[in-house]
Structure formats: C-alpha cells, structure tokens
C-alpha cells in the first residue's frame, strides 16, 4: 500500500506532450491522417520519426509532433493479437459501429456514411500525425518535411485537417463565440521533471477538480483504485517497455499512453444564432441571454453561477466554482446555470449526480477527460459578435471544431458523457432536453428538443431546437508512450517457434509456467495424466535453456532452446526455411520429384527426419535428448496424424507434408484446438 503523502509520479519523458499541455503557444497546427500501404516501410518510418515526437518534459517553443494509432494500424503493423486483446473493446470496434453511432448521436447528416473521413465509405485511417508550429510558415515547413517522410515511408495521406486557435488576447474561443477549454481536470500526480521542487502529493483543490492519474493515463490507479486494463506484450524486441507491475505480467504497452478521441464537428454559426434570434422574437439582448444560459458561461467565459444576469469582465478563465457547496455560487434549482446547459451537464461537479455533495463530486470525477480541441476555418466575425453574424448571413464556409479528448476508458468517460449526459433528453430529470449545443435534438421528438431555463414563478422554455453541430469525421486512437512507439516500430510477427509456444502462453505474459503447459496440452485434447507428464518434461527441459525461473519457459528466448527436434530448418531469424524443410522431407521419405502437399511421412521416417539435422542442425547427440525427441515424435503422430501409409503390408499412421509444415510454422496447435472446439470431441486417444 502506498502512503498517502507519497506522490504519484508521472514519467513525463514518456508521456506525449499534448496530453499535459495543449501547445497553445503553437498557434497553427495540422492534423494529418495517414493510411499504411507498406507495413515494413511504415515501421522504419516510425523508428525514424520517433525522436521527433514531443514528450511532456518541456513545453515546446517552436514546433511539436504527436502521433496516435487506430486499432487497424496496430493490426497492419503486426502487433500480435494476444497483445491487441488488451486494448479496450470500444477502441477495437471503432467510432462507427452502428450502436456506437446511436449512442454518440451520429444520425441523419451526422451519420458516418456522410463523413469526410473515418466513415465506412472513406479510405481507412490508420495513423494520426499532429504537427504544431509557431506560425503558418514554420508549420508549412514542418508539414512538408513530414508529408515527404510519410509518403516515402510506405504511407499515404488520407486527409489533412488545418487547425488554429481562436485567441482573443485572454484565452481561446470556439466559433459560436464562447470561451472553450476552460474546465480541465488536474491529475493528482507530479510530473517527473518537477519532482525536485515539490514535496508531498498534489493537494486536492476546493472544487474537486483533481482526479487520479489512471483516469487519463494507462498504467496508473484510477478513481476506483484499480488499474485500467492495459495491453501487455509478451515479447518486446525493442527492450524499451517497462514490466507490468499489476494484473497479468508481461511488458506494459499501455503505460503512459492513453486513448484519444477525435471528432470533426462542423458548426453552422449563422444557423445557430439566426434560429435563436427567431425563437426569442428578434430581441437581440434576450437572444444573447438565452445563448449564455444554453452554454452555462457568457461568451467571455464568465460562469453563470458567478455572473447570472450579465457578462462580467475579469472572470474569463474562472473555473473555481461549484453548484451546491459554495454558498456564494449555490444554484440548487438551476436558476442561475440551468441543469440543461452544456457546461453543467457535461461536468455536473457537486450537483445532480447525488444529493450528497461529496458523493456527487466523487461520481463526477469518474467521467472527466482532458480536452485538446482546436477550431478550424475562419471566424465569421473576429470579435465574435452575434449581431454581426446574423447581419452577414450565411457564408457557406466550412468551420468548426477538431474535438480531441484524452481518457483511459472511452466507454466510461467520453462515450458516457456524450450519451448519458449530453445526448440524453432525460438528463437531470428533464423531459425532452438534449444538450442545446452539441446534443442530438431529434432523439425523442422529431420536431426537436427543448431547453428549459428554471425561474420564478415558473420556468421558461425554448422549444423545437435544431442541431447546428454536425459530425463530419472521427475515429478512436491510441496515443502510445514514447517507449510504446519504439515497441510498435520494432514489433515483429512472432517466429514459428514463438507462435508454437505462444499457444501455451494464454495470459500473454511471456512466461509459460508448468500450469500453462498443462492447460495447453489439455486444450489439445490430451488426457490429464499425459498432460501432467509432458508439461513436467517440457518445462524441465526448457526452463534453463530459455533463462527462465525454475520450471518457467521464457517465450522471448525460445530460440535458445532449440533442440534436436528443430532439425535446423529455421533460419537465423527463426523463420521456417521451406527449402531446407522440403529437402529434408524428401530425403527422409525417399520421395523424388516435385514436393507435393499430399506426400506423407511415417514414424520411422520422421525419426530420420529429426536426426538428419539439416544444414545448420547439430548432430544427433544420442542418449537422453534423443529419447525425448523420439517421444515428441510420438506425440506429434498422436495429435496430428492425418494420413495412412502402407509399410510392409500394414497400415501405419502418417503425416502429410502440409500438416508437418503447419507444425513447423507454428500454426498447427491453434488449428487442432479449433477443430476440437468445433467437433467437441474428447481427445486423440492419449
């Protein structure tokens, strides 16, 4: 148990910088979405680009480069499926699965079929490369260099998204004209480079804005006191990943990485203001008032609970408020900041979730995320005046927000907030009130949603609202740590030998205990007695050769455990040398002519095959090892015999060339298991 005053330390040299700071000083940015054409070249590219990736150690002054991967990218790059199984289900399914579109409100014009990128009709998106520059020229140079690197590196550009900040001298705005990105949670962790100046843990602030690091990063404890499920690698060729210290073992691929949600949200600024203008009967003051009620802040950023009646300067970046516990800002009935307003429903703080203030804060902390959104397109009016917007009319230009957020659980954080709080017309005991800004208004009533402004003597209601924010693209990404990038750049598909033994390593921790071997044999349909016997023999024979602990085989080092049975037909990389295999097979069986898949080998011939040794094989040492290899031959024949051969007039079990090749490629055991599962038969006689 960790002492409470001992700070949680985050290794900022491993975390990608954009998680810790939005690179606000770097005004211009380009988000490049890439597709992998040639995985091998792409890995080389990744290794080359890795030193340029910005970590969280310093705030970059001139440029920054960040990178994230979709699930499909990890498949393309050859991350083994055992390892991929540790990623979250929603990340694997992606943002466009039909039930997900329902949750997120991506229907009608927001439906993935109509997207510009990321949808089922668009090119697949694999990698998100985020490039930030101090100014347009610096960015352009950076973009050109990286575009060339990528296209030379086996990748092609799917789409490039231009972005910038809408800085008004105080902070950042979005296109409707409101302050954006003010409320960000803090992590209760100390960045490693600040460790020297700090004593004790991070202190909880007054408004419950400090959350556990495991809500935002994999590899740390979350608000439930558990570690988020994190993918583990059994083998790490790059030798850069840390060992997993919790859950099942292996190397922690997730640590210091997190999930990135990217949604391109197009904003119809004129439509929004005009519709509101008409709804309030053309009263411009009332229109701005209702709009502020919808947001929960005035355009300047002043929160409504502190400035309920009119915009007040000096509170632009004010985020230190609560809805219930602080008597100065208390608003239990939503008469200052309506329950249905965007900021109250996407972060209810100490209200709504529970009548008990502390409990409500505790619950709301489980649904926070860090947002790093950036607008695109030019503002309609530089000073964000609504009357100017209405006067100018629709200009048809494309503008909106590149919504980006980070969270350790997409389902519990981003999707939950979007679905259960923002899109739900029933939030906070309301009846038909989706989020007035981003919610899907037609969810319950095709005529549109309502917005209720509580007041005395009775509420005021704006009805039949439409949505002026359209989803134009999006995907779920994994933003790896710098070590994990190195791992991905070096990851290889497993060698046949590794595949062969990985069959036994179901928990994917890179170690095969005697229990793993036993269960593996049982899955092949071998009886308990023989499974126990074989697992003892195998683990004993291999544990010291693979430098494992007593009776534990290390998958990584399995190549060191080559024994007579390998017959030298694996090349130095551990891949099957098919030519040597065919030669040996033909020699052992005495077959001549073209090798055919249907050639068979019998047991005595198999022993000859094994002892022949091949080019690089060692001579048969005889004695005990020889006896073992003969037993192994028997085992293979019991499991995989799929043909008969006539020897001296008797039928003898035999194995076809195809099956034996499968065995040497490492594909045989999974095949047998599938066959067994399919037939539900009980074993092969052993």
């Amino acid at each position: 148990m960790k002492k409470s005053d001992e700070p949680v330390v985050i290794d900022t040299s491993q975390v990608q910088g954009v998680l810790l700071s939005g690179h606000g000083k770097l005004n211009d940015a380009r988000f490049i979405l890439l597709r992998i054409d040639e995985p091998l070249a792409a890995k080389k590219w990744l290794a080359d680009v890795r030193p340029e990736i910005t970590n969280g150690h310093h705030r970059p002054e001139d440029e920054a480069v960040q990178i994230a991967f979709t699930y499909a990218a990890l498949v393309e790059l050859g991350v083994p499926r055992q390892t991929r199984a540790g990623f979250s289900v929603e990340f694997e399914e992606g943002m466009t699965a039909p039930h997900r579109s329902f949750m997120l409100g991506d229907s009608r014009e927001s439906a993935p079929e109509n997207w510009e990128w990321g949808g089922p009709k668009n090119e697949p998106v694999h990698i998100l490369l985020m490039l930030y520059g101090k100014g347009p020229t610096e960015l352009e140079a950076l973009v050109q260099r990286h575009r060339k690197l990528a296209t030379d590196g086996g990748l092609s550009v799917v789409i490039e998204r231009e972005t910038h900040t809408l800085f008004d001298g105080i902070g950042y705005r979005e296109h409707f004209g409101f302050r954006d990105g003010v409320a960000q949670p803090r992590m209760d962790a100390v960045p490693s480079h600040e460790l020297a100046h700090r004593r004790g843990a991070m202190r909880e602030d007054a408004h419950g804005n400090t959350i556990k690091a495991g809500e935002l990063l994999l590899g740390y404890e979350n608000e439930y006191g558990h570690y988020p499920v994190s993918p583990a690698a059994g083998i790490d060729e790059s030798r850069s990943l840390p060992e997993k210290t919790y859950g099942r073992g292996g190397f922690d691929l997730g640590k210091n990485g997190t999930y990135l949600v990217y949604r391109q949200l197009e904003q119809d600024v004129y439509g929004f203001w005009k519709a509101l203008h008409d709804k309030v009967g053309g009263d411009s003051k009332d229109r701005d008032y209702v709009a502020a009620k919808m947001v929960g802040r005035w355009p300047s950023g002043a929160p409504l609970v502190k400035a309920p009646d009119h915009d007040t300067p000096g509170m632009e970046l004010d985020d230190s408020f609560s809805y219930i516990s602080d008597p100065k800002t208390a608003d239990p009935h939503g008469e200052k900041c309506p329950f249905g307003s965007h900021i109250r429903r996407s972060n209810p703080r100490d209200s709504i979730l529970s009548p008990d203030v502390d409990r409500a804060i505790q619950l709301s902390k489980r649904h926070r995320m860090v947002r790093r959104a950036r607008p695109y397109g030019l503002p309609v009016d530089e000073k964000f005046r609504s009357e100017e917007v209405i006067e100018k009319g629709s200009d048809g230009a494309s503008r909106g927000l590149n919504f980006i957020c980070f969270n350790a659980s997409i389902a519990r954080q981003f999707e939950f907030v979007q679905h259960t709080w923002c899109n739900s017309p029933k939030f906070a005991e309301l009846h038909n009130d989706p989020d007035p800004l981003i919610g899907e208004q037609t969810r319950l009533d095709p005529k549109g949603g309502d917005f209720t402004i509580p007041g005395q003597p009775v509420r005021r209601r704006v009805t039949e609202l439409q949505r002026f924010v359209t989803t134009k693209g999006g995907a779920y990404f994994f933003m790896p740590s710098l070590a994990a990038i190195e791992y991905i750049a070096k990851v290889r598909d497993m060698t046949p030998l590794q595949k062969h033994v990985a069959f036994f390593d179901t928990d994917n921790d890179g170690i095969i205990s005697i229990g793993d071997t036993y269960r593996g044999h049982r899955r092949l349909g071998i009886s308990q007695f023989y499974s126990a016997l074989f697992s003892m023999i195998i683990n004993f024979a291999l544990f010291f050769q693979t430098k494992g602990k007593f009776m534990q085989i290390k998958v990584e080092n399995i190549a060191m455990g080559k024994h007579a049975f390998d017959t030298g037909i694996f090349d130095d990389d551990g891949m099957l040398d098919e030519k040597v295999f065919d030669e040996l097979f033909s020699t052992a069986t005495g077959a001549s002519g073209e090798p055919s898949d249907e050639d068979v080998i019998t047991r005595p011939e198999m022993n000859a095959f094994v002892t022949a040794g091949g080019d690089r094989g060692r001579p048969n040492p005889g004695g005990l090892p020889h006896w073992f290899s003969q037993r192994e031959t028997e085992l293979i024949f019991c499991l995989a015999s799929d043909a008969k051969a006539t020897v001296d007039g008797k039928d003898e079990p035999a194995i076809t060339r195809r099956t034996l090749k499968d065995f040497y490629r490492g594909d045989l055991f999974p095949k047998i298991e599938r066959l067994l599962a399919y037939k539900r038969v009980g074993g092969f006689g052993l």
Partner: protein, 420 residues
Amino acid sequence: MAETQGALAVVARLKHGYSFSELKKLLRAVPFSAMSTVHYARFVVLQGDSDVGIERDSLVLSTNFDLPRDEHLTELREEGGAALDAVLAFCEDYPSRGTADAKAFERFVEKNAKPYGAFHIAKRFYSVQEILRERDLRAAIEQHLDEDGPWEGRDVHAEVRKFVASRGDLKWAVDEPPPTPRPEWLEEHYQQEKKANVRKWGLIGAFVVFGLGYLRFLEWGDKRKYEKKETYENDWRRRRLELGRRRLFAREETHLVANPLTDLSIMRPGKFRQVILGGVFKIIDDAANFVFYKGDLGGIPSIHFARWVPVDDSKRLLFMSNYDGSWESYLGDFVDQQSAGLTAVWSNTEDFPPTRFLTRDGASNEQAFKRWARDQQIRTDVWYAAYPDLTVQNVIANALIRRGVYELDADLVEKWQRLL
C-alpha cells in the same frame, strides 16, 4: 394500501427439437400493446446447459403488471388469444385448446410461474393508464405555459388549474382524486412497516454473522478458482466472443429511453449458497419495499422494475430489469451506488469477481464486474414497454404535477412550480 403491481414469470420447458427461428417469428406477434395492465413484458429463451445438467431449453414470458393478478391473467388470455397460443404451443404440456380453455390456461400459467427472489418497483401505485394520461396532462400544461407567457407576477397554480378545468379532455385531473397516496402518508406507512420488519432482519443478521467464517472459507476457494480462470482474460479467443456478444446486445440497447437487461447466471453449488441467497433476497426485497419506495433503489433512480428469479430448480439465476439510459450508465450505477447488495446476490453465482465477507470487493471492481455482467447477459428476444418515452423520474414528476392540480398546500406551491 395494498401493493398495486405484480410480476409474472412463466418459465415453461420447450418441446424437444423445436425450431427457434419459427418460434422467434411468432414471439413478435403477441399483442402486448393491447393489454391495458402491462407496464413491461418480454420473451426470453433460456438455453440448456449440459454442464450443470440442464438439457432442455425453456421459454420465459415475463410481465410487470397492475394488480389484481386475476385481471391481468384474464387480459393476457383474452388479448393474447391465438398469437399467444401459437407461441406457448411450443412448450410442453400446453393445453390443446389454449387460451380458449380458461381453466386449463390458468393451470398452465400457475404451474410454470416462478416466484421472484427479490423485486423492485419504482412507481408503486401508478397504473399504466394513470401514467399515460398524466403524461398527456403534463404535455398540455407545458404547452399552455409556453403559449400564454410571460408569467411574471401571475398566480401560475390558479391559472393552470383553471386551464385544466376548462379542457374537457383534462377535466378529470381536477375532479378525480389522484390514486397515489400523499407523500406524508407514504412516509408514515413505511416507517411502521420498517419497524415490523426489524426483528426479522435481526434474525437474518445473526445467521449471516454465524455463517461468515464458513463463507470466508468458501470465498477464498472461489477466488483461487477465479484467478485460475482469469488466466484466459487477456485472451484473444475470449475477446472475439466478447465482441460478438457486444454487437448482439448493442442492437437491443438502442431504445431511446428505457432498455431491457436479462442476465442468466449459474448458481454456485452447495446448499449453503442457496440459504445465503435466500437471506439476501429477503433483505433486498424488504429494502425495496420499505426503504426504497420513492422511486430509487439504493440511489439508483433509473430502474422501473427489476427482479431476480431462480430458475431450473435454483440451478440458475435469472435477472430481468427495465432501466433508463445506457448499459454503461446502468452498470456504472451498480458499481458506484449498489455494489454491496449486488455482490451479496451475484457472488453466489459462478465466475463472479472475488469477494470478501459477502458484500466487499466483487461488483466494486468496475472493470471485472462489467466484463462479468456482459458474460452473463442473454438476448431479450422480445421486449415491450407501455410508455417507452418516460423515465422513472418523469413518471413521478408527472404524478406530482397532477396531484398539485387537484390539491396543493400553500407552502408547496413553489416546489410544484419547479416541476413544470
């Protein structure tokens, strides 16, 4: 005031070699919407599981209905008619004349009806018909408020009452007293009930303390078993299954407001577990009856009806619930608000995450519990909701609005106006 709502779960064994695809087509044809007493209804097929000695499949017909039970059964029989016959004919021992033979039909239902272990009702005293017309009442009042504003300085309550009285289709709200008891009465009534039950709980509590030592021993063993199985957790084979299941259920969970959840778990072996579960059910059922009568169940405000029903000679445990919102939010509420109670129930079933002293750990282990819950989930083949656009909180608010229209104490006027 007596109970006002009941639950029916007919679990009938399906005939040997029945065709599931045929059955499925017929299930949809049963006209629940014609039955005025039905809040929620569902058909679920429980597949046999030879590992625990259940060879045959069963069909579950489950309804949440307005009492009296006889009337509901009559309506089920009369309105269900030929469509219901066609479905139940797949079951063993279904009377040949079906719904036409009232006696035989009722005998069949009563023979196969399984009692619940624990049952939660969010909106007791609210019948389907009242819920529906209170919904219309609220909508009309809201519209009037929108059209007749602004309201500054006006007596909202008096004017709304006048408006309702002036409308022929809404006049009932002024004339008829609401069937729901006054909130103060509820408070008093359940305080008494609670007292009457304290002694019983004391006995159960004593037994639980007595059994804890043995229970801890069992839990220790179960934990080891769980950890052994957990070896396969990060396994891509399991992952593929999980993805498939998620897609399957996700299609059912795209209802706008309320959604169904059906879980089927295998009971852990041993009489001891059965006894524990019996005690836990008793406590939860009493708590649901006498403590959580205001709409929430232990802080979860979104459950219309939920119940556990032991099936297959208590070899398996069926959980059926109608909840508002998403699966993720519902399960999140389980973890955040009620992990102890749920752990006490489900820790008696297989593969549940490890527990300590019956109520600790278990469901509070968010990721493990959610994964387990998905594993237990089965298809809800047909689901019917009488008011699919209303949450529990909406129904309660609508009823309070109606009560306020009928009669309203002066000190409650402000509170009533906030409901609008």
